[in-house]
């Protein structure tokens, strides 16, 4: 299933990037571009060839991970992506983890205290969390931490494997901003699933046995609720990567988004095209990975097996 999807995604990016085929060279050079220079650029990008040839060549090159070279620094685009993608993945994973750590307990408590104060507060916050644009939340977090605790995240990126504390300090605000909408959705899901489970027979039995609240919530309510919750969290990964691009821009982080914007600003056409294609395919693969994980978590969902 993944391969046709990847081909469709690559075709989509190819077609979109060629919506104005004649203008690529022109837009790179601007008004002052001489006709011979325009020709040169078109030759270098292979834009003078028939569209079908360009398309097949594009698929072949993407298939062999040949993403072309940048116009600006002559570096292979793949090398640039490799040095940047770590941060974006780091950010997306961290915000997923933070999001889940907040959302699951919040949803559980809201379900347990249904229609009481904690539940109302929860509902307001979750609606707000879904509506607020993540870049605005990022700005607000930056403002609040700058004003009240005088904390501004450090600039230079260090990977979590070399300096975990530094990494956390740098990415905590962006991760919160990015994770909020996901957390809100996951928390709502947790709440509604837990509400169902709380009304089930085995939970009533557990109450009747005289088990404590904590034991019931953790052992009997939380466990069966986790699978649908993870489904929602997984389906949010694509959105997280898209959102990461904007949040990176707020915090000036040199991730995949940063690469894309620098390339757009200097009209580095090969880099823009390859980065967009990479990001899109990456998301498809992440989604596939999430799908495969369900099989591990729930023995009932084994893809490709007869029931």
């Amino acid at each position: 299933m993944a391969i046709p999807t990847v081909i469709i995604v690559l075709t989509f990016v190819f077609l979109v990037m060629r919506l104005l085929p004649g203008n690529v060279a022109y837009s790179i050079l601007g008004e002052a571009g001489r006709p011979e220079d325009i020709k040169l650029i078109e030759q270098r990008l292979g834009l003078d060839r028939p569209l079908v040839v360009q398309y097949l060549d594009w698929l072949r090159r993407m298939g062999t991970l040949d993403l072309g070279t940048s116009f600006v620094n002559e570096e292979p685009v793949l090398t640039q992506i490799r040095s940047r993608v770590g941060l974006t993945v780091n950010l997306a994973v961290l915000s997923s983890v933070i999001g889940l750590l907040i959302a699951v307990p919040a949803g559980l408590i809201a379900a347990f205290r249904q229609d009481r104060k904690a539940d109302y507060l929860f509902r307001v916050l979750s609606i707000l969390g879904i509506a607020i644009p993540n870049f605005y939340l990022a700005l607000l977090l930056l403002l609040a931490s700058g004003l009240w605790i005088g904390f501004v995240p450090p600039y230079v990126y260090k990977s979590p494997f070399t300096d975990p504390m530094y990494n956390l300090k740098q990415l905590i605000l962006p991760a919160l901003a990015l994770g909020a909408s996901q957390a809100a959705l996951v928390a709502r899901m947790t709440r509604s699933v837990c509400l169902d489970v709380l009304r089930s027979d085995f939970v009533r039995t557990a109450w009747a046995k005289g088990l404590s609240d904590e034991a019931i919530l953790l052992r009997h309510v939380l466990r069966p609720s986790l699978l649908p919750v993870i489904t929602v969290a997984g389906s949010q990964m694509a959105r997280m990567l898209g959102g990461a691009i904007v949040v990176e821009a707020v915090f000036n982080l040199p991730g995949l988004g940063g690469l894309l914007f620098e390339a757009i600003a200097v009209k580095d056409y090969p880099t823009v095209q390859a980065t967009i294609a990479f990001a899109a395919v990456f998301v498809v693969l992440v989604n596939l990975l999430v799908d495969l994980m369900y099989g591990l978590l729930d023995p009932r969902v084994r893809v490709g097996q007869a029931a």
Binding site: I8, M17, I132, P133, F135, Y136, L139, G242, I276, A280
Partner: protein
């Protein structure tokens, strides 16, 4: 067939209630039942009115630059202060609403309508057409909306129309999917079978039975996506990829906001809060509309 069964039974109406009055009474019941939805709907109307009345209520021209007046905090001359070029924030806000709301509506309308038509055809024909369409929709849907919108804007250049298209495409994929599943259910209904047995053609069945019954899910998709489109437009604007300056837009007002945050917070908080309120209001209004369309929730 004229009128519902209930109306036909009352062949001599005891009191003639005009249809508009009946609608008003029904609306009032809905307002009482869903106060949150009513407030959101009122907020949506307020936002629309303010944007429509921009020339009347803006105190300054939104593009007037006055470098001697830059970063002035809110005052009686500048209700919401001024930005880094001394432009009046309130005036930019009301004018900016026009673009942001227009793109929000435009994108939601284009995406939902085209997507709904695709889904309707795909779900009605099924077979090979459906298989191909659904694979393509899957592919488009798997691309993060912001990245796909970015690619479109990069290729086509930013304008009201291209932004609506760029944001409409990811919506299209979702709409096509939802509409397909609605149609697949509808085409198996007994009344569709009856229409076919009476010799109704495909075109007749689609236009007289399937399309009218798809209006409610269509409306729900449309309203739900307006909020979403407003936020994406704002994100693109914030990244400097929206309508280019000097035209004011809500997202565009936030370009470079992180640099002004600490000493001129009003230039950030005002447009940011309005975007959030707009997204919230459209979201909740959409929910309320969905609920009042849902017969299972009617008492």
């Amino acid at each position: 067939m004229r009128g519902t069964a209930a109306e036909r039974k009352l062949d001599v109406p005891a009191e003639r209630v005009s249809p508009s009055l009946r609608l008003l009474a029904r609306s009032w019941r809905e307002v009482q039942r869903r106060p949150l939805g009513a407030v959101s709907l009122a907020t949506v109307l307020l936002l629309l009115t303010v944007s429509a009345a921009a020339p009347l209520i803006a105190t300054h021209a939104p593009t007037d630059i006055d470098v001697y007046q830059k970063w002035r905090p809110p005052s009686s001359t500048h209700l919401l202060g001024t930005d880094s070029l001394g432009r009046d924030v309130w005036s930019r806000l009301v004018w900016g609403g026009r673009i942001s709301l227009a793109v929000g509506f435009g994108a939601a309308f284009i995406g939902t309508t085209v997507g709904a038509l695709i889904g309707l055809i795909s779900g009605f024909l099924l077979g090979r057409v459906d298989l191909v369409v659904q694979r393509v929709v899957d592919g488009v849907q798997s691309i993060p909306a912001l990245i796909s919108a970015l690619a479109f804007v990069y290729a086509l250049g930013p304008s009201w129309i291209t932004l609506s298209l760029a944001i409409g495409v990811p919506i299209l994929a979702i709409a096509a999917r939802v509409m397909r599943s609605t149609t697949v259910v509808l085409r198996e209904e007994v009344y569709v079978e009856a229409a076919r047995a009476l010799g109704g053609s495909d075109a007749y069945v689609v236009t007289r039975h399937i399309a009218p019954n798809s209006v409610a899910p269509y409306m729900v998709l449309l309203t739900a996506h307006i909020a979403w489109a407003i936020v994406i437009e704002a994100s693109l604007g914030f990244l400097g990829l929206g309508i280019p300056p000097p035209t004011p837009t809500w997202g565009g007002m936030l370009v470079g906001a992180q640099k002004e945050l600490l000493f001129a917070p009003w230039t950030v908080i005002v447009p940011g809060t309005v975007i959030t309120v707009a997204a919230l209001a459209f979201n909740l209004a959409g929910d309320a509309i969905r609920d009042s369309f849902d017969p299972r929730l009617q008492q």
